[in-house]
């Protein structure tokens, strides 16, 4: 009944897989290629069905990969994780560390010209600027905004903020953080700074991320999906599926999203939002967890961890300890 009887289903499915791969982004795909694909599909219903099936599998892999973001694979797996994290664009050498931090310090001196906004641990605040731009401050964040007329300059001293900027070529929107200057070219982006490390994630548009202050090096040009991790001395840029960046913004709804996140990382996240601190003891730190949790609801999180990961929860000296 199948006119593909001369070929096994396996051969057809392999061929369909080759076509799906060939047609995907990143490959050259000409009108000739398209014509050849269509002629192959027209040869039999079996070809067409196998192509739909492989195409669907590829979409599904992508969706799941996007959900997963760039979370490292299980630790035993090759070095793929580190490869993804450090497709590094190195813009300066380590010798410049002190110069970079020094320059950042100079920026921080310009106190009185700025209005200061703070959020406490677990707090969240949205600032709407007169030009319609919005800044959302996450937990435990200090941000200063320039009072000078016509100047749109923000200093992120601590914490994390999400910027939705109305573009104005005459008045570029500038964020100073971690010894770097981030200049907006019309955009939505997330900036997070912690202990000598700055992270900039682009959801839309473009920004320029300067080299460390005092370094004569070109700015990095970030576009949607890019995440830059900058230390005082270097910058690495990776490309992420947008869904994983959106997950990183769940705090705007008071939520934390974990995908295959180690318990140690998850606990560190919770501790950013709560005064009651969690500690993970021993091997439990390496266990992984998936799910969406209210950032302030430690009880729900510890109960889930208790149930799903079969952990023991002990409370002593005002600390909550998770162990196995």
């Amino acid at each position: 009944m199948s006119d593909a009887a001369e070929n096994s289903a396996q051969d057809i499915q392999m061929e369909a897989s080759r076509w799906v791969i060939a047609r995907r982004a990143g490959e050259e795909w000409s009108a000739d290629d398209q014509a050849r694909l269509e002629s192959w599909l027209d040869q039999s219903t079996a070809h067409r069905v196998a192509f739909w099936r492989a195409d669907q599998a590829w979409n599904r892999t992508f969706r799941a990969a996007a959900l997963k973001g760039f979370a490292p694979q299980t630790p035993s797996r090759s070095n793929l994780g580190s490869m993804f994290r450090f497709m590094a664009l190195r813009v300066a050498a380590s010798l410049i560390v002190i110069a970079g931090l020094g320059a950042a310090g100079a920026y921080l001196m310009r106190g009185p010209e700025y209005a200061t906004y703070r959020t406490p641990i677990g707090g969240r605040e949205t600032l709407t600027l007169s030009d319609g731009s919005q800044i959302e401050l996450n937990t435990n964040t200090v941000l200063r905004f320039s009072r000078r007329a016509g100047q749109r300059e923000v200093i992120l001293d601590r914490g994390e903020a999400y910027f939705q900027v109305k573009h104005d070529p005459a008045h570029p929107f500038v964020v100073l953080a971690g010894g770097r200057r981030i200049t907006d070219i019309g955009t939505k982006f997330l900036v997070r700074g912690e202990s000598g490390r700055l992270e900039v994630a682009l959801l839309e548009g473009r920004v320029l991320l300067s080299a460390p202050h005092g370094i004569d090096a070109p700015s990095a040009d970030l576009t949607a999906g890019n995440v830059a991790v900058a230390t005082a001395s270097d910058t690495s840029i990776t490309k992420h599926p947008l869904q994983s960046l959106r997950d990183a913004l769940s705090w705007r709804d008071g939520m934390l999203v974990f995908h295959h996140t180690t318990l140690a990382q998850a606990v560190a996240e919770f501790n950013r939002y709560n005064r009651t601190k969690l500690t993970v003891a021993g091997a439990a730190a390496a266990l992984t967890i998936d799910g969406k949790f209210a950032a302030r609801d430690i009880e729900a999180f510890t109960e889930t961890a208790e149930d799903v990961l079969r952990l023991t929860v002990t409370r002593e000296n005002g600390q909550t300890i998770l162990s196995r």
Binding site: Q10, A25, R60, A65, F84, D290
Partner: protein
Amino acid sequence: MTDTKDHDRDNAGARLKGLAVSADALQAWFLREVLPLESALAGYFRRNWRNESDVRDLVQDVYVHVCDAARREVPLNARAFVFTTARNILIDKFRNRQVVPIETVGDVEALAAASEIPGPDRDVIARDELRRLQAALDRLAPRCREAVLLKQLEGLSRRQIAQRMGIAEDTAKEYLAIGLFTLSDIFFGGDPK
């Protein structure tokens, strides 16, 4: 019920009357209604046909038959149509071998009737997907997995993947194709392992 032509009569009451179905609508119907049945379908053939190595071809035969039929009009009850088709294909094969163990093809009634039972919640499927991907990737050969991840997560071309992995471009292409072939089996459940 002794001829494959009977599918049409069996399902006559369950058909949408209408114009020829567009290619896009046919594809959407196949992906939504038929493909999710693959693991049940493969299981049915595995239980009722001795030769494991024929299962993939039998499943393909069902797909081809139902899609050719749906091109004229889309059956309302895809599940019943798919399993009736599967049974008739088996009966044809048995007849060609001049053996007709009727009882072994009997469970198609139960499979077809399962359409009445609501399927798993779609949210559960979505949440499950991540775990399935992880499991699926873990089952790929390391080089295939690496090639698939480089393509899927970083959008590299075959040439770039070949350079990154230090292999020939044709090899990269084959790793990707094998990876996708295996992932398809794992996702849709035709894979007996």
